[in-house]
């Protein structure tokens, strides 16, 4: 390997490449070329898994394919370890070399679950360069981007030379970097950059984290930590907890004394008139009636105390549980508020609700209803056995012998409980989301007469829940049966043995046997408890795990730790090489460059699905771009505090959000200190005042979820009023007038015209008439800006914008 190119400029770090591959690359005549990019592949064209590799040097592209099929198991994310990445791949490599200059285009074509890298040669013939599963898609996309950025490529193979009239070839009036503009952009190392690759693996087991933003390895986190973490919630209530445990202990002590009082003292001392006993408790004259009275009184008091203590303990329990549950829910809601939208999109909302409402309760319930009992019952168990052994060790042994069997059994079926609880949770979740769907979509269901079908669907889901519950009950019964058997068996044995001792050998008093059986039945509680503690443990840890999954979730959009303060905002916006996709395989925005000077208005047009909403969502940081950056007044929005950003960027969107509350509260949402006058003025400006005044309770009308229904246009006008009141420096209108009639639109248009004064505005609209006043316009198509300029410039361009314009004027002409 010849790597001592000393006269080269400071070298960029080369991507990691197996030695064998590097060797072949050198042998094939590229020893002096820097490796620009490299990626592994895992399939061949015959649809088999097979190792491969692809390497890009400054002048060549090398495609490697393993000659022999590998029989090794394929490890996908979650099983992939750092070792897999560093492993030397000693296959018989078949290598094909291409000159970069002979490749007209390299592109990735996603299939349903795999992707093809397609290479187009100078003659326009397309062929498959390699095939790879989604495991490698991120690196492959990076690979293709590196290829496109090779020096000289854009001159040789200019983009969009297919002659589409829309392609950007004219002067760019608003910012943007033309072809050959600055490439690469420092800062946040793009995802999957080699420098931070190790961070994606768990340092303990070397496996890749399932979610790279949340550095928790599901394998290495053990269930004990779940327990400990849950316990911490209780640690805050030390005093209450101590009191509660004290109650428990007292009850246990009382329970321990009871059989002794009831058996030995009552039968053997008092009823058999034992003088020594009387003397030892200080009753003279052999007054057995008095003694009996005292014994019964003591027994009565003991029971009474026991009951009182139990009640008190219940009170403490309730107190602790409600506080802990409240704490847990608070934590969950706190996190949910911070999480980005994508978290919610990837989970059923119904599922979140079950979690928040029931998991916390389940967990806390376990800790209160079960955990203290572990100690209490252990205490009872040990002391009871000690006493039993002291009374008669032979009988104690008999009592003891059967119990462990049951115990082991229930330990053994614990995983089945764990599974059953998981299953029940899933079924509950489906039911919740279905009910949710049906409630929100009730109108559609009725409109299409689908009640019966929905009912059938529900019956199906419900059956799943029933089955899950049944299997839990079945397991419980099974468990109980074994325990009753062991325990009941022990009881019968004791009686039989006792009868033998008393009647056959005369070595035991009746009172002792009664005491003894009393102790045996005292074991009943702890044993029954033991029989289902494992079940309860499985249930609660299952719930706790789900709860912590939410609490631990890391928002994908995070606030800077030391945000740059934003004092006086001008409102200029700049997008630099912004690339973004909801799924890695399908970029929705591709390398967008855009500059919007402070105070100007930009209009965006484009067909639905072009990525317009996505673009403005990035500006308000609902998501972060995958690549590139967005600057407000020259500051990357990632550096800004959420508060500053949200205060300065307001959005009136397609999806209006009306929350449960009065009209007034809804308008004052972003500015709760607004005066009544300001609210009314905002409503007037949004043409909302008139319809609000027609509502029965005016500004105090309750709207939203369970309140009064508003029409689409009415909701939109409320959200415009909200934006007016928020008084942001940057205003985003995403089809703000989409659901209002033409007349109202005119009215709103006037208010918007007022609204945009002195602000930077981005307006997305289908009706071009709405964008009359825009300083600049751009056409977004398929994630790219295909046309940009002033209204006049675009008209002269005779591209998409022109087409749309003509269509709309003709349509109007036809109508009028």
């Amino acid at each position: 390997m010849n790597e001592n190119n000393l006269n080269e400029a400071p070298k960029k770090e080369e991507p990691r490449v197996p030695k064998a591959i590097r060797q072949i690359v050198s042998e094939k005549g590229a020893e002096n070329e820097r490796i620009v990019a490299a990626a592994a592949t895992d399939m061949n064209e015959a649809c088999q898994y097979a190792d491969g590799f692809i390497v890009l040097t400054e002048k060549h592209l090398f495609v490697f394919a393993a000659e022999s099929e590998s029989r090794e198991p394929r490890n996908f994310k979650g099983y992939l370890s750092i070792k897999d990445m560093e492993r030397e791949r000693d296959f018989d490599w078949k290598c094909t070399v291409f000159e970069n200059d002979s490749i007209k285009k390299l592109k990735i074509e996603p299939q349903v679950a795999i992707s093809l890298l397609i290479m187009e040669d100078e003659n326009g013939i397309e062929r498959v360069a390699c095939v790879f599963s989604n495991l490698h898609r991120r690196k492959m996309h990076k690979f293709v981007r590196e290829f496109d950025r090779l020096p000289g490529r854009e001159e040789k193979f200019p983009e969009g030379e297919e002659g589409a009239p829309g392609k950007e070839k004219h002067k760019l009036p608003i910012g943007g970097h033309g072809p050959g503009g600055p490439r690469g952009f420092g800062g946040h190392g793009g995802p999957g950059g080699p420098e931070n690759e190790e961070d994606e693996y768990c340092p303990i087991c070397g496996m890749m984290y399932p979610n790279k933003d949340r550095k928790v390895c599901p394998r290495c986190i053990d269930r004990k930590t779940i327990f400990v973490r849950t316990f911490k919630y209780f640690a805050r209530y030390k005093a209450l907890m101590a009191l509660m445990v004290l109650m428990y202990l007292l009850v246990a002590l009382l329970n321990l004394v009871w059989p002794y009082l009831n058996g030995t003292v009552l039968y053997d001392y008092v009823l058999t008139k034992n003088e020594d006993f009387l003397l030892s408790v200080g009753i003279k004259n052999g007054d057995f009636v008095l003694a009996l009275f005292f014994v019964i009184l003591t027994m009565f008091m003991a029971r009474l105390m026991g009951q009182l203590l139990t009640i008190l303990q219940g009170v403490f329990t309730a107190r602790i549980v409600s506080r802990v549950v409240c704490d847990m829910k608070k934590d969950i809601f706190n996190v949910m508020g911070k999480l980005s939208i994508s978290f919610f999109k990837s989970r059923q909302t119904g599922s979140l609700m079950t979690r928040v409402l029931s998991d916390a309760e389940r967990v806390a319930g376990f800790f209160i209803d079960q955990v203290p009992y572990i100690f209490i019952h252990a205490f009872t168990l040990i002391t009871t056995f000690a006493v039993m052994f002291k009374i008669n060790w032979k009988m104690a042994l008999v009592a003891l012998v059967l119990e462990p069997i049951a115990f082991i059994f229930s330990f053994y079926i614990r995983p089945r409980f764990w599974n059953a609880f998981g299953k029940r949770h899933r079924a509950e979740r489906s039911i919740n989301s279905q009910v949710n769907d049906n409630l929100t979509g009730a109108r559609v269901v009725k409109a299409f007469g689908q009640e019966e079908n929905e009912e059938n669907r529900f019956v199906g889901t419900n059956k799943r829940l029933k089955d899950a519950e049944m299997s839990i009950v079945g397991l419980e019964n099974y468990n109980t049966l074994v325990f009753s058997f062991a325990h009941g068996g022990a009881g019968i044995l004791i009686w039989a043995l006792g009868a033998f001792f008393i009647l056959g050998r005369h070595t035991m008093a009746l009172g002792v046997l009664i005491t003894f059986t009393g102790y045996v039945s005292q074991l009943d509680g702890p044993m029954r408890f033991a029989s289902w503690i494992f079940r309860a443990w499985a249930d609660s840890m299952n719930a706790a795990q789900r709860m912590f999954e939410i609490i631990d979730a890391v928002p994908e959009v995070t606030e800077a730790e030391n945000p740059v303060p934003l004092e006086k905002v001008e409102g200029s916006i700049e997008l630099k090489n912004v690339t973004f996709g909801y799924e890695v395989n399908r970029p929705v925005l591709k390398n967008i460059n855009l500059t919007i000077p402070a105070g100007s208005m930009l209009g965006i047009v484009g067909r639905s699905g072009a990525g317009k909403t996505t673009l403005v969502n990035l500006i308000s940081r609902m998501y972060d771009p995958e690549e590139g950056s967005i600057l407000i007044d020259g500051i990357d929005i990632k550096e800004l505090a959420f508060r500053d950003l949200r205060r300065n960027v307001a959005m009136v969107s397609q999806e209006t959000y009306i929350f449960m509350g009065t009209v007034e509260e809804n308008i004052a949402y972003a500015n709760s200190s607004a005066t009544k006058q300001e609210i009314i003025r905002a409503a007037k400006l949004a043409s909302a005042h008139e319809f609000i005044m027609r509502l029965p309770d005016g500004y105090n009308t309750v709207v939203g979820a369970s309140g009064r229904e508003l029409s689409g246009g009415e909701r939109q006008r409320i959200s415009i009023a909200r934006a007016i009141l928020a008084d942001p420096k940057i205003l985003i209108l995403d089809e703000a007038t989409a659901s209002v009639d033409t007349e109202t639109e005119r009215a709103i248009q006037t208010s918007i015209n007022y609204l945009v004064k002195g602000r930077t505005t981005i307006s997305i609209a289908h009706r071009l008439s709405t964008l009359r006043d825009a300083d600049f316009l751009c056409v977004l198509d398929n994630g790219e800006i295909t046309e940009r300029g002033t209204h006049e410039e675009l008209k002269d361009l005779k591209g998409t914008y022109f087409k749309l314009m003509e269509l709309q004027t003709k349509a109007l002409a036809l109508r009028e």
Partner: protein, 181 residues
């Protein structure tokens, strides 16, 4: 510039084109293999150097209603093949190769192990393409029931695996994936 004047008729024709259902039969469509291993199509006097082959009902009717489309990202439908078996063997093979690539989904034949840890389930399975180990997220909807017995599993990267009939699995294997059934 003149020819670019707005032409309402032209647009209406385009719209009409978009709405028409164009059935492809061996008589009106000729598929040939390209030098790069793809498929090209000649139909209605037009030649398409490469076409995409897409199923309309990939799960419920993979052999019927095949959409032949252009290859741009915003692809357009060229025509529909109603029944694959109406094609000659050569053409069918050619199109099936494309379909196989497009719908690549390993079929799970044996469940070796499934472990559920902290919100993720780790699968170790044998498929018709060899042993695969992958991970799914328990919170999402990564296990999709196409029918009572047929399921599709998507892993963290959305790689797909299929179990065509869960009842064909052994009782112990079914128990391992019981949680998802």
């Amino acid at each position: 510039m003149e020819e670019k004047e707005f032409d309402l008729e032209q647009m209406e024709k385009e719209t009409e084109e978009m709405l028409r259902i164009n059935m492809l039969t061996p008589e009106n469509a000729k598929f040939t293999r390209t030098a790069g291993g793809f498929v090209s199509l000649e139909t209605g006097g037009e030649k398409y150097p490469r076409v995409q082959v897409v199923r309309m009902f990939p799960f419920t009717d993979p052999g019927h209603f095949i959409s032949i489309r252009t290859t741009e990202e915003r692809s357009k439908e060229i025509g529909i093949i109603e029944d694959m078996s109406s094609l000659d063997a050569d053409t069918r093979k050619m199109l099936e190769e494309q379909l196989n690539l497009r719908y690549f989904t390993p079929v799970i034949t044996k469940i070796i192990n499934v472990k559920d840890e902290y919100g993720y389930a780790y699968f170790d399975v044998m498929t018709d393409r060899g042993e695969c180990r992958f991970t799914i997220h328990m919170g999402g909807s990564d296990v999709v029931h196409l029918t009572e017995t047929r399921i599709i599993i998507s892993d963290l990267d959305e790689n797909r695996f299929e179990i065509p009939d869960v009842t064909k699995l052994s009782a112990t294997e079914r128990k391992k994936i019981d949680l998802f059934l």
